[in-house]
Amino acid sequence: MIAERKVWKRWRSAVRRRIKTSVELRRDYRRTRSQRKRSHTWGQLRFLPPLALAIALLSGEAPLSGILNLLLFWTLMVTFLRAQFIVSSLHNPSLLSLFFGWPVTDGEVFARQRKLILQSSLWLGVDWLVFGLALAFRTGDAGLALLAPLLAIGQWAAALAIALWLVRAWPRFPYVWLTTPFGIVMVLALRTHSPDDALYPYLNALWHGLYVATPGGWLAQGWLNFSDGHPFGLTVIFGLSSAAVFAVHKGAQAARAAFNPEKLFGYEESPATENTPASASATAVTSTTAIESDSAAGPAPESGRSDPAETRAWLEDARAHASDVLPAPAGRALSGLGPIERAISWFLTPRQRALVDFMRPAGKPWLRRWQYAGVALLAAFALGFTSTPDAAAVPALLALAFSLPLLGGTWVGFVALRILQTQIGISAYVPAGFGEIARLVLKINALRCLAALPLVLLAVHLGLAPDIPPPDRVLDMSLRLLGLVLAVQPICIIGKFSSNTNDSSGRWYFMAALLLLLVTAALLFVMLTVIIVMTDSLWVAAGSLLGLNALTHAFLAFYGLAWGRGWFDLIGKPKQ
């Protein structure tokens, strides 16, 4: 129904034929070559795993059990990735909204998404097919070669069935997060060869678990059984593959029954919402977002002129409001949040107060965050009296996270306006400079860190239980910690600006300079951080902290220079 491949391929050929007939069209076609290039994705390297598998098996050097262990682990990882893909395909409102304007039924949309899911998971079957065929070639067993497709279907169907049922049970779980630990284990497994390695017993237990607890492991056991000459293995593979295919069928049916885009968009709410303006309920415009291109559409309160008396009333009303709003003191976006913010806003210049109204610090008021930190510190204090006083470090760290702007804080002014295939930070539209915004954020965050010093002292004191150091040492450590947090702020600010620019894909000389500086700065950063944490000398620590802050501020200044000189555009690629 959608994306008829044959049709568009035929049209593409026709377009190319037509272009060939004209010099001008050919010139324009060449001119837009870069726009036709598809962006590369990791998915395009998907042929590498079966290739590596075939080489490993056919070289005959790698032990079969080792390869099979890794392949089983890979299968489990792909299963979770497929689960994420199913979530994205069937439960992602921004993707499904594309179909809302089209004359297609939910059933057709589901069929299209189901086809994508099935197609995208076929590569796992290819992995297992390559495994089966390569092993048959290695052993010279024709029976194994005949059975390889069945094994491939069984593994593919089992993984897909598990993914479908996982999503059915937990549709909001971020399955993609599991790939990082999986990747780490995979690297460790590839580096662990000898039984003398410390990790060997753990990995062995993991492999054993895979054979016992996963359908992929059961299928692999059946395969090994059959390759040893036991016909029972064939029964296992056949039975499990059939069951897996049936489970995929039933899982797809269940997914279809649960597929309800209208519910996803919240259109099936109570009748009370019918009376509210559609734009308020359906566009999901929140206080922390800028109006986006198509989000402000929808019925609006009535305007237009009515009788003169009413107009006069409006005028009086608007005059009163304008008198309140226009000369209102600037800086309310900060000072209105709470008493701590109000105290900090005293230190801002008039221009910074105007800027803070535009940048709009967001998130929980700091007093509330301090209250959370206080609760965490109480927990740390209580844990200090238990048999596991070391555990006090966890709530102490939480208290630090609550009280300090570890990642630069949340600022609404860094959000972007999405326009088709680009996004532009809203600060690009107003006369606000990089330097003044950066100075504002640095100043507020520095004041916030200073204000939180008592909490930091307590967190360091309680977090080091049971070996609580003397007060001067606690102060020393707290100041070092604050120095590190302050040193990170410039990097966080660069990251916030950078997310809405093309600084990584613009001018080559800037990209090269940025990369060089980034590598150098990262090395220096790690080195100085280690010195700050490890050294006993106050002077060395102070010098290193100064150096570290000078380094990150210099990096910020360099980025600001590039921003001001226009070495990149304030247009970035949208996140999604």
Binding site: A297, G304, I419
Partner: protein
């Protein structure tokens, strides 16, 4: 109002090999309304983005009163305002709050803005909505809020991207012309993009035809007035001929 003289000197902008602007040169005296007309992807919006500092030219220069324009020149950026076809406005703000915020960022004295603001909101039929959060407004009303801020702040350079395709109602469309004329009369320069020939023909002191990143033709007000409404010498016919030459 201190008027701004705008000069583009061999302005070039490349996007990954594609020349969105190709050595564009132009001098604009203050007090003019300039229409940019061209096919989709011709480079109109890129030109406005260059003029506002959102994108940086790959080559050439932009001069405001002889001073080279860069993104870091806040003093110059406070003399212009770029109004995209979908303006960026915080959803939870009211029109009054938005104008107040813009006034502060442009460092205008709020006390002097009250009367102009009420007048503009009244003319745009936005008085009843002055205290309604922007999230509840329609697209045209949203544009009116941004337009009200522009008119009240009244910078020396107005950059309007597709103002006549921004969802404005007839009253809004009429007012945008009236405000632009008043601003130009006071010495401001108004540059807008459009796809609508009839508007560009009647509402411009200069009409620049842009295609593949270059100015193909620049018509003055006198040229436009001299053109017959229909026939082979009409603007529509000339543009059609021009397009046919380009695609032949």
């Amino acid at each position: 109002m201190h008027a701004v003289k705008l000069e583009l000197s061999r302005l070039t902008k490349k996007y990954q090999g594609t020349r969105a602007l190709d050595e564009v040169s132009l001098v604009l005296e203050p007090g003019q309304i300039v229409a940019l007309i061209g096919l989709n992807g011709a480079g109109k919006t890129t030109l406005l983005r260059c003029l506002s500092g959102i994108v940086a030219p790959t080559g050439g220069q932009i001069l405001y009163d002889g001073a080279v324009f860069r993104r870091s020149r806040l003093d110059l950026r406070k003399r212009l305002m770029f109004l995209p076809d979908f303006p960026a406005i915080y959803a939870d703000m009211t029109p009054l709050q938005h104008v107040a915020l813009m006034a502060r960022l442009y460092e205008r004295d709020p006390a002097t803005l009250e009367e102009p603001l009420l007048r503009v909101l009244g003319e745009l039929d936005m008085l009843p909505l002055a205290e309604v959060p922007v999230a509840r407004l329609s697209r045209g009303q949203l544009y009116k809020v941004a337009l009200a801020a522009l008119v009240v702040i009244n910078p020396e350079l107005w950059l309007l991207d597709e103002p006549f395709a921004s969802g404005l109602d007839p009253q809004g469309l009429a007012m945008i012309k009236a405000y632009s004329r008043a601003a130009a009369k006071a010495g401001a320069t108004v540059i807008y993009t459009t796809q609508i020939l009839e508007i560009a023909e009647r509402f411009a002191d200069q009409l620049c035809v842009i295609d593949r990143g270059q100015f193909r033709q620049i018509y003055s007000r006198a040229d436009l007035l001299a053109m017959p409404p229909e026939g082979p010498d009409s603007l529509e016919a000339r543009l059609r001929q021009f397009r046919e030459v380009a695609s032949s």
